[in-house]
Symmetry: C2
Subunit: 321 residues, 2 copies
């Protein structure tokens, strides 16, 4: 749940006058997303999402994010498309925040994904990777292997407060991944955060991808490994191998994985699990008293990490070699 | 900021199938309102508000609230109109909560009202009172004079924690109001909570009234006194007499006040200020640690109460006698 920044009527009116969208008919804060302030905006031109970027998003990254959404939309990916203002800019300023208006997507995110949703997500991720291949801006992944040890250091050795032994487990894993992390797999633009709440469906049909604010350049199969973690585990912590197979098969139907990518899946999945374990651990240990956002449980990702460590090869995810 | 209850995809789908609204295209939690869980619902039939009623609303009161909205809408008041399901009911059940779908109103609430907004609100309130005069259901005002002392008792004598001397001031005021509260003024259906966030405008034109979940039967001029408190004071605590005159004149243009009502304005305004002081004080003292809702400052209403106590007659509000 978010909505951090408020603005006056006059500020909004002035801001919208910079666009070719007619008069504002309604603006309501949306209780979704935790990084930015999002509003559903209705104008004479239709429905839009108004986003005020908060401090977790670096202003210097915004041209990459907004440019990517526009590039992908032009390539046929259903994602929010930035609306340009009268000056031609996708980025403006409201209430002293960088601010953008993007198109509204219909659809709902799926709280309990079924295998057919995983198939659709896999295919959409591969299409995104293909569509991003000729995007010219670049952004390094600020949350890849090199950042994990510094990120863990911000937790001040307090991991065992969350679960006994977790600190040692993380340190061992960091050492392993730092010396075994692949660097020669096919790379390109990745979404890097394609969790269920960032994928809209209408019934069983995928109707859009949102929230490109972690997108960056990295190994394509790492993006798939993030989805494996995000979509294919049950509430009890177990992998649902039917969902994993559906995700990987869906992906392969649009972009076949190379042998090297298939072989690297377990380690990529370990890295993805550790990345979310560390950011959740950081948020868990640093959440201020009385915060509006309830931090997510880090131990979910410790359990997933253990599963991936036990995976001998990609057959653990339901695919034949 | 609210949104308390979540529901599964299947629960929502099943619920909406009970209505003649086509398929769901989008549903997003709205960060407005503190009593209920509100969602912006888009279906093939258009935009609606989906409301799940939480514990502060008594289920037995819902037929009054929903029936009133429908009655007022039929009488030409722009307010949310309940949508009936296929069985003909305005009230259903979702996620074990009483739930309704109402029509979506365009417009935004005004964060810094100007006198012309006050004129429009006054006129709309009088129209509401007229339109409500033939509504047949009744609901006593659970937050009128008889309830104030019991409500104060729930604060356990802790008022002075908020402001030194506040407890004595409240007790003196309670004693005065209990023996001087009028009971012979014109009565009918009142909104009872017509604060700026419950009134939508498009530019300077009032486009709708929302949130009828405190509506009840009481003295009409008491509703006006609530608006006087809610719309006509500045951030520094001072009455803006231009706004007060605008509100009262706007009201009088649609329903002239009787001499007795005009004479009673200062005491009604004292009662209204005390009612909001007490509910805010209660919320302030009982807010749980880590609550998602930041309680409103009770002392704002203590300052307003002092102003009304100093008012010799209705001339204090800018009108000629």
């Amino acid at each position: 749940m978010a909505v951090y920044t408020d603005f006056s009527d006059e500020e909004l009116e002035h801001f919208i006058q910079g666009y070719n969208l007619g008069a504002v008919l309604s603006v309501k804060g949306i209780a979704e997303g935790v990084e930015n302030s999002n509003y559903l905006l209705v104008t004479e031109a239709g429905q839009f999402i108004l986003t005020l970027y908060e401090k977790r998003v670096k202003p210097a990254d915004l041209p990459f994010f907004l440019g990517l959404m526009e590039h992908l939309a032009n390539a046929g990916i259903t994602c929010p498309t930035p609306v340009h203002n009268r000056k031609g800019d996708a980025l403006g300023r409201l209430a002293e925040r960088p601010t953008a208006i993007v198109t509204f997507l219909t659809g709902m995110w799926v709280k309990r994904p079924r295998p057919e949703h995983c198939t659709a997500v896999g295919a959409a991720l591969a299409e995104l990777h293909r569509a991003g291949s000729d995007f010219t801006l670049r952004r390094i992944n600020a949350l890849s292997v090199d950042s994990w040890r510094p990120l863990y250091a911000t937790c001040d050795g307090r991991a065992d407060e969350v679960q006994a032994g977790l600190g040692h487990e993380i340190e061992t894993e960091l050492t392993f991944l730092e010396s075994h992390w692949p660097d020669d797999l096919p790379s390109g633009v990745i979404h890097a955060d394609l969790f269920p709440d960032n994928v809209f469906f209408l019934g069983k049909t995928l109707s859009g991808l949102i929230d490109f604010y972690f997108a960056c350049n990295d190994m394509l199969a790492y993006d798939l490994a993030i989805c494996l973690n995000a979509w294919c585990f049950e509430a009890d912590g177990a992998l649902n191998v039917t969902k994993a197979r559906a995700l990987l098969t869906g992906y392969g139907s649009e972009r076949p994985l190379t042998e090297a990518e298939i072989a690297a899946l377990p380690i990529l999945a370990r890295g993805a699990a550790l990345r979310f374990l560390l950011t959740r651990l950081h948020d868990w240990l640093t959440v201020p008293d009385g915060a509006l956002v309830v931090p997510k449980d880090p131990t979910e990702y410790a359990r997933r990490l253990r599963f991936h460590r036990s995976a001998v090869d990609a057959r653990a995810y339901g695919i034949d070699l």
